[in-house]
Symmetry: C2
Subunit: 491 residues, 2 copies
């Protein structure tokens, strides 16, 4: 498999950008990062200025290593971590209409997920979606699959084959919240099937270097108290991660209150089943009470913030600043297809927008900065999926999960001098404007923007280049992606 | 110039989609639209099913016409109307940081706009930006330029040369709201320069078929009472459109109250200067009072809704539903670089998100539908710029301002049967999943997504295809653009 093909010792030369902390984004214009045959970062130099000689002077034994150099305006950035998405729902990406969570599930989601009983259908969808997420620079992804064991196992195999780190979860849903045609037959069968999927994933990747299983109760309304408790026990006995949804939508919260009258809160339902652990990923957390935040934090459970989905389904704006202040660990999740994009870069923007909408009501402190959302997309996400020692930043001993970002430079129109503003003071009398305009004509324009959507004029600071990428960039700017030092996508 | 090159009589064959009204989006899967040598639509057929024979049976004299056929999954859609954007600010697209309107102006905007005193600088920026907006399917654009006459005139020349319909406005700003280094010297010189730009634009396009001038007081704080009144008179005497900003940000509104103590409201400031007319475009209108809405509506002035900008600068969420209910005419504006994208398709999404945030506070009635935002982006915008009889929809007698949209189809992985869900019930025992996964391997993936960001699986209804385009599409899906029947962009 591709994921086991050998790689060569490589020096990544050029600018790199990564989060040092929530508050600090490091931008290093003249970097060099040495990555060994295991994909482990062995050195990080900051003053190399594109000169391999300077690298060899410090690291003589790297003289024979491959060199990957940034071309044009660009930088290396850590691979994105998507802490919450539903791979089988990708054919519905962009389809949500005017629905909200519960009507969306029955209108769009259950019929589509049920179709993955067909393995060829699953193969087509999963193959496409893993390619898509990789193309957006997502090097680690926490996937929900469906209730089907073969399709779930196929997703894990695809991630392993493509070399994308993944948590892959067979979804459990035993109650009549789910339709007859798409539901676990019993708690016993749900457990058996979940165990089968865990066993398969452990068999194909025994050390969990690329793919790991994750126990996945869909959400409280889909599972009985008995089922939730059994899944808590399964996660414990198999030493697995857990992922589920919490407090996404007010109607859902009311439903949980009705279904679990003995529990004090939504979070308490999961806690009673031992599903709140340091290896639990809770998606959404839009409407958690102060007591629930405290409970979740005390258990060390983590949050997947999914603003695109929360906006599209009118679920609400998660109070990320308050959640951070409560000590919670947060990553970003695309939540396809509640979310309308497989891109974590888009999710960064959506997190910014949602925080601004909160700021319109709650004041400026709610605003997240560009650096903060990039932290959530990398270091925060790494912590959510338990990989904070391996990925999310560029440090010696961590692994090379990275993307090469290239930005497009705006050409100077033919026949005109460059943008030197002092020498060419405009004066209508001196210049034949119609002639100038004609020199700019190339109508119809044919593919003028091969280098993607970002326009760099050359006057930008490094900080501004990063801002332009975050607010205007897309997959066209992610020209290569590596996981553990292995190239997994390129354009 | 390109805009005057001859075009041939053409039949556009295939699906088309356009707004009939705010409530109704027509999707015609089997259309044919005949466009004559003047770019005027001469027939619209709805039951042709890709068969030119059926067209000729009804329109014999079109037998020699060119035929442009939709390839693959796609449709013709009216060109977008951008009712508010600032071309000189494009080098700052994506740069706004944590600023709000007034700090953003001084930090980012004035220094950049001042640099367009250099005509080569202006040429590089404007040439790039006109190409960008065309590539996103924008066939008509209401541009703010800068205070510089030569650069403003150059923008008009470029639009004419490229064939993009435009309103082009020299910006007027006489008060110390603007910095010393970038301000009109006096009201007299502002008037003289505005007149010069109007004269130039009228000279290069006497009938205003492509480019038209627009009187452009930046916003009330930039202009004295005297200046505003003089510009109102100038618009009247030159029979010009007017564009300005209104009620974008609460700090700005407070400033206007301080600067114009004799006026009852921000809208009243403009009204006193005779700047509220049926040919006035007011950008933003986020915080208009009920009395102001009534005043604006009574004058027939129009609104440019700019949600991307309003969100990025934390200005607020314009209450579009309420503005529509008040009888106001609304289009969409990208407001680059307060807005972070030159794409009206992105603006459609932003209008949806902003309306959902309003819905979270005000209830579901605030939610705009996909059809409604597409109306604002086309018919609504056309009415805002006074072209409702010519563009925005596909009707006999209107002109062919259109884009060809193509969506990407997801391939069936090699060696597997298609997505027939009934025949291949998954069963782990029957299928070698690792083998299936390996067949899906093409690592590293190389440019798998040439056809853009939208994934079509073949099960979508036509309505769903349109939804996928709106929520996942970008300029890669706009593969050709026409204005008045003339091809102005293609990929």
């Amino acid at each position: 498999m591709a994921a086991s093909a050998p790689i060569s010792k490589t020096i990544y030369l050029g600018a790199f950008v990564h989060s040092v902390s929530l508050q600090e984004l490091e931008i290093c214009p003249c970097g060099a990062i040495g990555v060994d045959e295991e994909g482990v970062i062995r050195f990080v130099e900051r003053d190399v200025d594109g000169d391999t000689g300077r690298v060899y002077a410090k690291h003589e034994q790297w003289k024979g290593a491959s060199v990957v150099r940034i071309q044009g305006k660009g930088f290396f950035f850590p691979g994105f971590i998507d802490t919450h998405t539903h791979a089988p729902q990708h054919p519905n990406t962009g389809l949500f209409g005017q629905t909200t969570l519960l009507s969306w599930l029955t209108t769009y989601t259950f019929p589509l997920e049920a179709s993955l009983s067909s393995l060829p259908t699953a193969h087509r969808i999963y193959s496409n979606f893993v390619s898509r997420t990789l193309s957006h620079g997502t090097t680690t992804c926490a996937y929900y699959a469906t209730i089907h064991v073969p399709a779930t196992n196929l997703l894990a195999s695809l991630c392993l084959a493509r070399g994308q780190r993944a948590l892959v979860g067979r979804v459990c849903m035993t109650t009549d919240m789910s339709p007859d045609y798409y539901r676990d037959a019993s708690v016993a069968s749900a457990l058996r099937d979940s165990q089968a999927s865990i066993d398969y994933i452990r068999a194909i990747d025994p050390h969990g270097a690329i793919v790991r299983p994750v126990v996945t109760p869909r959400f409280a309304p889909s599972c009985s108290t008995e089922c939730l408790a059994a899944l808590g026990a399964l996660a414990h006995s198999t030493d697995s991660f857990i992922q589920t949804h919490i407090s996404e939508n007010t109607g859902e919260i009311a439903l949980v209150r009705d279904l679990f009258p003995a529990s004090d809160s939504y979070a308490a339902v999961y806690d009673a089943a031992h599903l709140l652990t340091p290896r639990t990923i809770l998606a959404h957390a839009v409407h958690l009470s102060a007591a629930e935040r405290k409970l979740v934090a005390s258990r060390g459970a983590k949050i997947a913030h999914c603003p695109a989905s929360n906006t599209a389904l009118t679920s609400g704006c998660a109070p990320v600043r308050e959640l951070l202040d409560a000590g919670l660990t947060i990553g970003l999740g695309t939540d396809v297809s509640g979310g309308f994009s497989p891109s974590i870069l888009e999710e960064c923007r959506q997190a910014i927008w949602a925080s601004r909408f909160r700021a319109m009501c709650d004041g400026d402190a709610a605003k997240l900065t560009t650096g903060e959302v990039l932290y959530l997309a990398t270091r925060g996400g790494a912590e959510v999926v338990g990989l904070e020692d391996k990925v999310g930043g560029f440090e010696v001993g961590m692994e090379w999960d990275a993307q090469m970002v290239r930005l497009g430079e705006v050409p100077v129109p033919v026949g005109l001098m460059g943008g030197d503003e002092s020498e060419h003071e405009g004066d209508a009398a001196d210049v034949d404007i119609a002639e100038l305009a004609n020199r700019g004509v190339d109508a119809p324009q044919t593919e003028p923007f091969r280098n993607g959507p970002v326009d760099v004029f050359g006057t930008e600071s490094w900080d501004e280049l990063v801002q332009k990428w975050v607010y205007s960039g897309d997959d066209r700017n992610t020209i290569a992606v590596w996981v553990r030092g292995r190239l997994v996508h390129q354009i």
